[in-house]
């Protein structure tokens, strides 16, 4: 059985403000710095930003 990554839970304490929010799962954290995926996001984000920039000028 694969070990479970508990790192995201280390800063959460029951009934603290930290208990009431959301934290990323290991997969989400991995994808944030996955080069291939981030190249795609780079293109998408730039397109979205250019649209907003054009709308604002």
């Amino acid at each position: 059985m694969a070990s479970v990554d508990h790192s995201i839970e280390k800063n959460i304490k029951p009934y603290d403000p930290s208990f009431e929010t959301m934290v990323p799962t290991p997969f989400v954290k991995f994808m944030r710095t996955c080069i291939l995926w981030q190249i795609i996001r780079f293109i998408v984000i730039n397109i979205k930003m250019l649209i907003v920039v054009q709308k604002s000028h």
Binding site: N11, S18, P24, M31, I35, Q38, R41, M49, K55
Partner: protein, 490 residues
């Protein structure tokens, strides 16, 4: 020949001056008055503040750029505005005091046909006892990342803390806003997460207690009342995403706080619910509140008319609706469109220098009556757009006469693209890339959330970091007026 005088050479003033000169050519004069010898790409100061960039990476000298552009550059601070001239002359003028060019301390009068106030903020450290040095400068107990020199000093102090942490000593770091009425929460956000990122890299994170303190009523306010992003089929508040990052990175927060005093290793604060507390620290970066730079104004007879031109906060009045009204009655149309002064139509303001009609975030105060609410940010993109629009208006007035159409750039009708760094690294850096449309929420047009969800978005990742780093190079390239600079949008 007309003369346009631009006070200020920051993002907004430099944009206004360079476009004005480009459009006016050599037939008319453009004068820039700024006390600084360098232009500073301020968004990258946080990287200087953690040692990921040097001062030389974020500044460049203005003189050669202005010489190339044919702009008359005076390294001086503007002191007063005389919009009606003086006895014996109706020609309006400003008075300046040189800070460089071999004329330090000398005063001079510069007449103008059109005046653009782009003086930006006075970093009002002294508004919080102990935050300043008593003479308007940064005090000894905390650091700042507002200027490149401040950021260099901040990194030097941070390295001392990191060294102690490496030796096994627990260190406490506090980052946030140093007064109940600060803006620029975004810069503090970037700094705290870059510190945390560097600490992880250095292997000392477990020896650091990193805390946030700010005047926001909720995390993710950023001075714009927060925003909503589409995520997983929901329109989710920036509060959720901000809190998520703080928890993920182990940064505790104290919000709704006005820092009332700073001493060696300790700050005192008051919160919206009346709580009063103290925080000890080994290292603290607290953003100061902003005010206008302190320009005075006089009429033809020499009478003080500063209150006529400027709001109490020192920012120049423009075509905004300054009628005091409760939050529930605020409208998008309160915000200025042309940035023209209502009394002197040849005076404009752009960037941080114009007086906003009111806050963007909801006004709040503690039971003692202390205002604790973020003031409106004017980030790089709106500042650049406004500077360009004002330059365009001035140029059209010169070329077409007093009935020329004025260009409009309301913050309630423009968006902003912002990138907030959470760590620098080519393959492991992170930044939150955001767009918000419009900057000032329009609750009539977009009921409930005030913004257009189709054009307001955000996500955090390595791509955001690449974008921030590219923007650093791109905007410095543009500011240096290198080939094709006008093709780069503000």
């Amino acid at each position: 020949m007309a003369r346009v005088v631009v006070m200020g050479g920051g993002v907004s003033g430099h944009t206004a001056a360079t476009f004005a000169k480009k459009w006016l050519g050599n037939e008319h004069e453009v004068v820039v008055v700024t006390p600084n010898s360098n232009w500073n790409w301020i968004p990258s100061n946080i990287w200087v503040g953690v040692g990921e960039m040097k001062k030389e990476d974020v500044v460049f000298p203005l003189a050669p750029v202005y010489e190339k552009a044919g702009i008359d550059y005076r390294q001086a601070k503007a002191v007063s505005i005389h919009p009606e001239g003086k006895e014996g002359s109706d020609t309006p003028y400003i008075t300046i005091e040189y800070t460089g060019q071999g004329k330090e301390g000398q005063t001079e009068e510069i007449t103008y046909d059109y005046l653009i106030n782009a003086t930006g903020p006075k970093l009002n450290f002294d508004a919080t006892p102990g935050l300043g040095d008593g003479n308007g400068g940064l005090g000894n107990y905390t650091v700042s990342v507002c200027t490149a020199d401040h950021a260099v000093h901040a990194n030097n102090e941070l390295r001392k803390v990191f060294e102690k942490a490496k030796q096994g000593e627990k260190q406490k770091i506090v980052v946030g806003t140093g007064h109940g009425m600060c803006t620029c929460q975004g810069a503090a956000f970037e700094y705290i997460f870059n510190i945390e990122f560097e600490a992880q890299k250095a292997g000392i994170r477990d020896n650091l207690d990193i805390q946030w303190i700010s005047n926001e009523a909720f995390l993710g306010d950023f001075g714009i009342g927060g925003l909503h992003l589409k995520r997983g089929g929901y329109a989710a508040s920036s509060k959720l995403f901000a809190e998520s990052l703080y928890v993920e990175r182990g940064v505790d927060w104290t919000i709704g706080a006005h820092v009332s005093k700073v001493e060696e290793g300790k700050l005192y604060y008051e919160q919206l619910d009346g709580t009063e507390g103290e925080m000890e620290f080994d290292f603290a970066m607290l953003i100061p509140p902003f005010a206008g730079v302190g320009l005075k104004a006089y009429d033809k007879a020499g009478e003080d008319i500063t209150d006529k031109l400027f709001a109490p906060n020192g920012f120049l009045k423009v075509d905004a609706d300054y009628t005091p009204k409760p939050y529930e009655e605020w409208k998008a149309s309160d915000w200025p469109r042309t940035y023209q002064n209502p009394d002197y139509h040849n005076i404009f303001a752009c960037g941080i220098a114009f007086a906003p009609p009111h806050l963007i975030s909801k006004p709040m105060k503690s039971p003692k009556g202390t205002p604790i609410n973020p003031t409106p940010p004017r980030t790089g993109m709106p500042s650049g757009i406004i500077g360009k629009a004002v330059a365009h208006s001035v140029v059209d007035l010169i070329k077409e006469g007093p009935n020329a159409h004025l260009h409009e750039a309301s913050m309630a009708e423009m968006g902003a693209a912002c990138v907030a760094s959470a760590g620098k690294g080519l393959t492991n850096g992170l930044a939150a890339a955001l767009t918000v449309y419009p900057v000032v929420p329009d609750f009539e047009k977009y009921p409930g959330i005030g913004r257009d969800l189709d054009y307001t978005f955000g996500e955090i990742g390595l791509a955001g970091h690449w974008i921030k780093h590219i923007l650093h190079h791109m905007f410095i390239y543009k500011a240096k007026l290198k080939p094709g600079w006008t093709l780069i949008p503000e």
